[in-house]
Amino acid sequence: MRILLIDDSKTMRNIQRNVLGQLGHTQIEEACDGVDALNKVGAYQPELILVDWNMPNMDGLSFVKEFRKTNKVTPLIMVTTESEKVRVIEAIKAGVQNYVVKPFTPDLLGQRITETLAKRAG
């Protein structure tokens, strides 16, 4: 499965990559902000995207809105420090399927990824 990780922090991308590796997912591309991600999705065709919210150049919410203009199918998980209910609702309305608040344990992130993929399959 092709997975795209979008976060301006390399540390966070590495942590998420490790969790995905433990779940058996090794085909992973990375992007450092929304603009970088939009430039990559066409050629890479990710089947799952994990996206941070607060990033320079283009934030995660803007990426989600832009991505969803042409892709209503690929599941998106927002992984962010934004925890207020109004933010979660905003992200879901924009088109994310799941939401993980930082900090997170590897188990929690793994659970959310598994849930999201199970819903997609169902």
Binding site: T11, N54, E84, K102, T105
Partner: protein, 171 residues
């Protein structure tokens, strides 16, 4: 004025982030007003806040402590001259501030900036005028650190970037 609820939120957030990401307990010391603009230690992660609450928050460590904490956080041996070091410090500052914001923002509109990281002694962090800075010392098995909180409720929409600046000066 600095609302004590902000201090409570940042303390809880610091402990939550360190415990969740690194399984590292944090013992909190007695808060005090910080009058000296020089940070306590040589590595500082800085986050600005803007909107209904403005100011900045700094997490500061001695270099050796920061290296131990970053190694725990990343799972790799990362020294302070590695670019991944400042990235990790910035991400820790981001999580601590973001988490705290979630606890006290409520209906207020608050934005946090992308983190800045300064490495090296002698740097000075300027803070918004008229906003007191509360210094919260803490200890961990990796060493000491300090959280410096200079934020206050504000009705004007002033960008955090225009309110705070970091300058370096040789000690």
């Amino acid at each position: 004025m600095l609302d004590p609820a902000y201090v409570t939120a940042f303390v809880a957030s610091l402990q939550h982030v360190f415990s969740t990401m690194m399984q590292l307990p944090v013992q909190i010391g007695d808060p005090k007003i910080k009058s000296n603009p020089a940070p306590s230690y040589d590595v500082s992660g800085i986050i600005g806040m803007s909107g209904d609450i403005t100011g900045n928050v700094v997490i500061s460590f001695p270099i050796a402590t920061a290296e131990r904490i970053v190694s725990l956080f990343t799972g790799a041996d990362v020294k302070s001259d590695n670019p991944d070091f400042s990235d990790a410090i910035g991400e820790l500052a981001n999580m601590i501030s973001g988490n705290a914001k979630g606890m006290f923002a409520g209906t207020r509109r608050v934005t946090i900036s992308c983190p800045s990281v300064v490495i090296g002694g002698g740097h000075i962090i300027t803070r918004p005028k008229d906003i007191p800075c509360i210094e919260i010392p803490a200890t961990t098995d990796c060493g000491n650190l300090v959280l410096e909180i200079a934020i206050a409720h504000c009705n004007s929409d002033v960008s955090a970037a225009t309110q705070s600046a970091v300058s370096t000066a040789q000690a």
